[in-house]
């Protein structure tokens, strides 16, 4: 009962805050002189939403972006976890790779995205790669920190119990590194959306980033709004999934 009340209260606040936001937005558009093709009213955006939802184009572009994001996230995650594990385990690997990794971080993703589109074509692959690239670093760092944070005493324990490599990874390193790792994934999940959109901006003929570009070109700001909101929901959904995953996997950890 208490839990339900608490939940309702939380949802109530969110609804309230959204309602206030909408009212302010509506008030702003009615009392200012800005024409609605420059700054649409909530109603315009709603109309636009209904029209693109009805003709199926919103779903189509959303699914394209979702696919890029999920594949990019998977790729980035996989590469970062493997590299991170190797880096955490071997000083030599760290010394060899870290200049490249640090250097790669100082290049903004928008600067390399055009190159990727040239190399991989305007199709889905260049978006997957921009998404993966942007996911890579935070997950990498957190994997390294996570693995390095595994207490030495527990390694000793595993050794004294004659655990083999796999048992050490599965029964010690993964669970011990998981909290920090999932923190990285949380950041990575939202970045993955940004990465895919950056890729779509540079050159694409589908996806939500492409839709934003189309709206901009046509001065269809309502379309831009609809696309941006969809992107926000996508990112929130992903973030929420990771938070959910955390709550399931890290239930042993006391919440402060």
């Amino acid at each position: 009962m208490k839990v339900i009340l608490k939940f309702l209260k939380k949802v109530g606040f969110i609804i309230l805050s959204l309602a206030v936001g909408l009212i302010l937005w509506q008030a702003f558009t009615t009392y200012s002189d800005i024409p609605s093709f420059i700054f649409p009213t909530p109603f315009d955006v709603w109309e636009k939403f209904l029209s693109v939802a009805r003709d199926g184009s919103l779903l189509f572009h959303t699914l394209v972006t979702l696919q890029e994001v999920l594949l990019g996230l998977t790729l980035g995650l996989g590469a970062a976890t493997l590299t991170g594990y190797l880096l955490a385990k071997s000083r030599t690997v760290e010394r060899v790779l870290s200049p490249y990794i640090v250097a790669s971080q100082s290049i903004p993703i928008v600067a390399i995205a055009p190159l990727l589109v040239i190399w991989l074509g305007p199709g889905i692959f260049s978006k997957i790669l921009t998404s993966a690239l942007i996911v890579f670093f935070p997950v990498l760092v957190n994997t390294i920190v996570g693995i390095r944070s595994v207490p030495v005493e527990l390694y000793e324990l595993m050794r004294s119990l004659q655990a083999n490599h796999w048992q050490r990874i599965i029964k010690l390193e993964i669970p011990a590194a998981l909290p920090v790792f999932l923190g990285g994934l949380r950041i990575g999940a939202t970045l993955a959306v940004i990465g895919a959109v950056v890729g779509e901006f540079v050159g694409a003929d589908k996806g939500l980033g492409f839709l934003v570009n189309v709206g901009r070109g046509l001065y269809d700001t309502s379309l831009v709004f609809v696309s941006v909101f969809t992107l926000v929901i996508l990112a929130l959904g992903l973030y929420g999934s990771v938070v959910f995953l955390e709550s399931r996997l890290l239930s042993w950890k006391k919440r402060e």
Partner: protein, 256 residues
């Protein structure tokens, strides 16, 4: 029972020397120690901080290789961690994400014992160490004394012949310490183990052991090998008998 096997001491330490070497130089932790341990004996090792007690435990458990000399268990040289040796570390060293029950089943899981069987063994030991009802608790919710009980249960779950304890009660208050000592004696009698326990509490050593080894520091040298002929079961009041005090006096002098 194998009679031939029983005539031979369970453990033989022959001219053991340990030198730690790293970039900063080398440090002789143990000079040259020889002793042997009969089956089902309860041995305590006392010595001031830095006298190489933990080092000795690491050698006996096979976690560390001797620099000189050798250690034999049941006639075969200890070169790496092996079956039949249970270890309790100074810190309880539990996995925070595993429940009491799961922490105790860990050694069996590593040996691929079916989980049902592992659990029933673990439950038996939980009862032995007096933690019934706490099976599903997490380490973070237990007191220091309870944590050490879990650690002791875990070290016993594979039914080892030799039990090594490195200052298991070092972090506990005096009263809990005495209680845990009595518990350990009870377990030792019930399970017929050979126990080697490190402590820097001389009175605790005399109270628990059949034999106390005193080590002097820097580098660790065996100063005194003292037989404790006090009758068992021993009681708290025995600590004030002239015999008891005499033994502690002898040990204190040996160490200083």
């Amino acid at each position: 029972m194998n009679s031939v096997n029983n005539q031979q001491p369970l453990l033989e330490v022959k001219k053991l020397g340990v030198t730690y070497t790293d970039e900063k130089g080398s440090l002789q932790a143990i000079n040259e120690i020889s002793f042997s341990v009969e089956r089902e004996q309860f041995i305590c090792v006392v010595g001031p901080s830095g006298s190489g007690k933990s080092t000795l435990i690491r050698i006996l458990s096979g976690l560390l290789a001797p620099t000189t000399g050798a250690v034999f268990l049941d006639g075969s040289e200890i070169k790496k961690p092996r079956q039949g040796v249970g270890i309790v570390f100074q810190k309880a060293n539990l996995m925070p994400w595993r429940s009491v029950l799961r922490n105790i089943t860990l050694p069996l899981e590593i040996k691929s014992v079916p989980i049902k069987e592992a659990e029933s063994k673990a439950r038996e030991l939980i009862e032995l160490v007096g933690l019934k009802g706490f099976e599903d608790w997490l380490p973070q919710d237990l007191s220091g004394g309870m944590l050490q009980r879990v650690a002791i249960a875990r070290s016993l779950v594979q039914d080892p012949e030799l039990l090594l304890l490195d200052e298991p009660f070092g972090a506990l208050d005096a009263l809990t310490r005495e209680k845990m000592g009595a518990e350990l004696l009870r377990i030792w009698r019930a399970r017929k183990k050979t126990v080697i326990m490190i402590t820097h509490d001389i009175s605790e050593a005399v109270f628990l052991a059949d034999r106390v080894l005193a080590i002097s520091p820097q580098p660790g040298n065996l100063r005194l090998d003292l037989k404790v002929d006090l009758e068992r079961p021993r009681h708290e009041e025995d600590r004030f008998t002239p015999e008891f005090v005499g033994l502690t006096q002898q040990l204190r002098e040996a160490i200083e």
